[in-house]
Symmetry: C2
Subunit: 175 residues, 2 copies
């Protein structure tokens, strides 16, 4: 097992455990057990828990954003496509809301920078999708719909919040 595979295993274990149970509830020893990577190597690759947490969120941010962009890129109607993508996300087993918001709620000001970066990226992505002549507040309103659907789905998973938000978004686009 080379360092790259060790990193993958560590991030897989960290993502599974941190997302499901929260960050403070999961100890480094549990990540060692789940990943099979010895503690010594873990601390060589990630010198402290904080850096493992940041790496977990950064990898998740890259995958999440890339998946959403890819799904929207080929769509005839990009804004509704965002909510269709959300509906599929909400149905994934183990879905438990936005990992970045969960981390921010748990860690507050101690949350890693990538939380803010992730939300700024999402806002920028939505701003790219709105038609050229639309009012500038439209991207903000779409962001509220995306965050609201995600939050509602966190407590009662399933595609319905995304469908309801999509209806509202289509109404906004027709205005």
């Amino acid at each position: 097992m080379d360092d790259e595979e060790a990193r993958n295993r560590l991030l897989d274990a960290a993502e599974e455990l941190f997302y499901r149970h929260g960050i403070q509830a999961v100890g480094m020893d549990r990540i060692r057990t789940a990943s099979g990577v010895p503690l010594k190597r873990l601390y060589r690759l990630y010198p402290a828990k904080e850096s493992l947490v940041s790496a977990y969120l950064e990898r998740r941010d890259r995958r999440w954003t890339a998946s959403l962009r890819a799904s929207v890129a080929g769509a005839a109607e990009p804004v509704p496509a965002v909510f269709d993508w959300l509906a599929r996300w909400f149905c994934e087993p183990g879905f438990r809301g936005c990992a970045f918001l969960n981390a921010y709620g748990e860690l507050g000001v101690a949350a890693p920078e990538v939380v803010r970066v992730h939300k700024a990226e999402l806002h920028a992505l939505l701003a790219e999708l709105v038609p050229a002549g639309a009012p500038p507040a439209l991207a903000d309103q779409l962001l509220i719909l995306v965050e609201g659907a995600t939050t509602v789905a966190a407590l009662s998973p399933g595609p319905e919040p995304a469908r309801r938000a999509r209806e509202v978004a289509e109404l906004l686009l027709r205005q």
Copy 2:
């Protein structure tokens, strides 16, 4: 200091510390110091940290819901009044999003029951406010707007998310 005042001091300290720093980050000793209530009495009134956490959230739920209901009760347009109330909440110093969602994100399935109860109450309150002839999905959509505005404001406090959500809600009501 009788038991009732001790309880008030404990819940004040718990609310301030748990909401600001998260639940797991705050130890019982810190609550003792902040409240001035001795550890022995703390454990007589709340036999474990878990019960103090539940009591903190339950008191917050009662105050939050009562304040929102009172503000909406006297309004000519109840639905927009919800968002005006949100705008004032988002401007309070130390605002850091919904305490119940933060607790759920941190504790997951171990979160106390009051988290679910709080969200069900909010949905029921919104369902009372929609006009009689409105489509049944309207309350769900308003809930998405409320949660979305709260979530967006958690990361960048201020009244704007509530104003943007209010515009969308008014558009929904006109449909």
